[in-house]
Point group: C2
Chain length 328, copies 2
DNA sequence: CTGTTAAATTAAAACCTTTTAGCAAAATAC
DNA sequence: GTATTTTGCTAAAAGGTTTTAATTTAACAG
């Protein structure tokens, strides 16, 4: 690999000091009273030889990397992929750049990554946390590292948070099944983990079902199982309880629900899922969705993180963003 | 933010030199003849105070970041998301860590990102390139930066490449429509761009259709259009040509095809797509798929990149990985 | 022509590592 | 008892920036 030019190469070539070059390159020429003529000469030379400052050295000196880590469970989930896009857009406009990490359900890996990036002086973290991450996130907070959680808060972590109106969304979705779809027996499918967004959704479902005095029918799926097992469990859940409607707490559960319905030719037509998926509008029966306001979530997340980085945030912010029903 | 410990803090605290600490921390204690007792003392102290070396300084000194950039068009595409997972896994096992970048169709952004990461001394690049990136990738190559392209080669770039057997896959898929599904009029839907993997797939389709003397029926979609427009174009394509089967050159085209079929109640049942999507098994009619061997692609990509990084690669490698038909 | 102020530039320290080359003390050889 | 080798450790340079504090040169006042 060819040796890269350094700022002192430029300075030597032009017979001036490194300091001068640095000032000019950082737009401080005027402030530092570098003459117009020299400024121009340096800029032209730098352009001509294609010199680019070494960002590692820059970061080492300034302590800033202009990079933000975005840590999610599964970047292939369209919800997270979409959020990632919007967050990247927003951050980019402020001169920051996003490093994604997708950690599936490997908590150990997540912890390692957080530490790794902390060691690399990342300027801030945006995290959709799993429960096991409380400790490592608390360490970040104690060290004063800017952090924003989204999608789900952690009970034992007092960090800035942006979440969706989970309870209201699930309530509305369930009411839709009750009132528009005239459902009589509505099952609720969630995961075993006690992630708080899931709790909120369960609350919303319960509130709606309770309001008409209907039975609560809840299935908790262990997401680390194979898909086939999940499919069979869902079949049993539907059949055993004679369900005529289901509310899925999240999109990948709904996908497995659809697999069960198709595989076992189950007669159930009234379906709602939290979050979207390309399949929902294409299948028969279609799946209605509670769609989160992704651009708004992204906007809030970035706003809060940048405020933290720039040191203008006193109290802990907890933002709740509305969501809406896509009826199908 | 609290001041971080540095290696010289450790050295001072223990009354020894920085060099010694560095040697011990880098596992060179034995080689450099540091006594067992001192080694142990340092290790224990480092653990106790929780010192972590500053990776920026380390990278600045060594010129290695142990990071690899993975640049794809759209990380929410299950094909890329899946590849990303496997590549990350592989790289991780060798002590490398992956930075994803998803650049949609923003070529300018892609170029900026490549330069940005080059400036940050990334150890290597894994890229699913779009055509416009030829120049910037050639610059990387000229500078001796390790690069592997995958999914699609670039005609004017002589880089290591890992691709799927596109032509064979499309040929098999088309023959499946002909022989198993008894299709009579098979349309081929691709994108306007001349990405080479798309060309290969078109070739495969043509070869199969030619072999039975059937008409070539090809539609090129401009992917920067709105989905609704694409849907309407696909309806026209299907109706105008009285198609009874379609081969979609990639999964997101198939999704729009399904939208068209559903929206306009089109009577077409014989569908094949390159790449998978969760919807394919769930919709009626289901979509058969040409599934790429993702673990193998990831394995090859990482192997080649690491060989480059470690300087043990002479000639340019072009690897072709087989794919297989998932009949539905 | 001297003294003061302003303008233009720079030397050197700092950020935190790794690594080369070398030193002092202890051990061994003769 | 001296010469050589081995052991255990370290000083200092290098990697490429930014930034503080200082220095030189030019301009101006008297």
């Amino acid at each position: 690999m060819k040796k890269r030019l350094s700022i002192s190469d430029i300075a030597n070539d032009l017979g001036i000091s490194v300091t001068t070059v640095s000032f000019i390159l950082n737009g401080k020429a005027r402030e530092k009273r570098i003459s117009e003529s020299l400024t121009k000469r340096v800029q032209e030379y730098v352009k001509k030889v294609g010199y680019k400052p070494n960002q590692l050295a820059k970061s080492l000196r300034t302590g800033k990397t202009k990079s933000i880590v975005l840590l999610v469970e599964d970047i292939s989930n369209p919800f997270f992929a979409n959020i990632a896009d919007h967050i990247e857009q927003q951050a980019y406009e402020h001169g920051y750049h996003i490093i994604y990490c997708s950690v599936k359900n490997d908590e150990q890996r997540a912890k390692e990554l957080i530490n790794l990036f902390y060691d690399r002086q990342i300027d801030g973290f945006i995290i959709a946390p799993t429960e096991g991450l409380s400790d490592v996130i608390n360490v970040l907070l104690k060290r004063g590292v800017p952090v924003v959680l989204f999608d789900r808060p952690l009970v034992d972590v007092d960090a800035h948070t942006v979440i969706t109106e989970n309870e209201k969304g699930a309530f509305d979705g369930t009411m839709f099944l009750l009132q528009e779809k005239k459902a009589k027996r509505i099952g609720f499918v969630t995961i075993t983990s006690s992630q708080s967004q899931m709790k909120g959704r369960l609350e919303g479902y319960m509130k709606a079902v309770d309001s008409v005095g209907m039975d609560l029918l809840v299935k908790k799926i262990n997401p680390s199982q194979k898909d086939e097992e999940v499919v069979d469990q869902l079949r049993d859940f539907i059949q055993d309880n004679k369900l005529d409607a289901i509310f899925f707490a999240t999109n990948y559960l709904a996908i497995n629900g659809l697999r069960a319905i198709k595989k076992y030719k189950l007669d159930i037509e009234k379906l709602v899922s939290f979050d979207e998926n390309a399949a929902f509008e294409l299948v028969v029966p279609p799946v209605s969705a509670i769609s989160q306001n992704i651009p708004e979530i992204a906007k809030q997340v970035v706003r809060i993180l940048l405020s933290q980085i720039n040191g203008k945030l006193e109290s802990v912010e907890k933002v709740v963003v509305p969501c809406k029903l896509i009826a199908r």
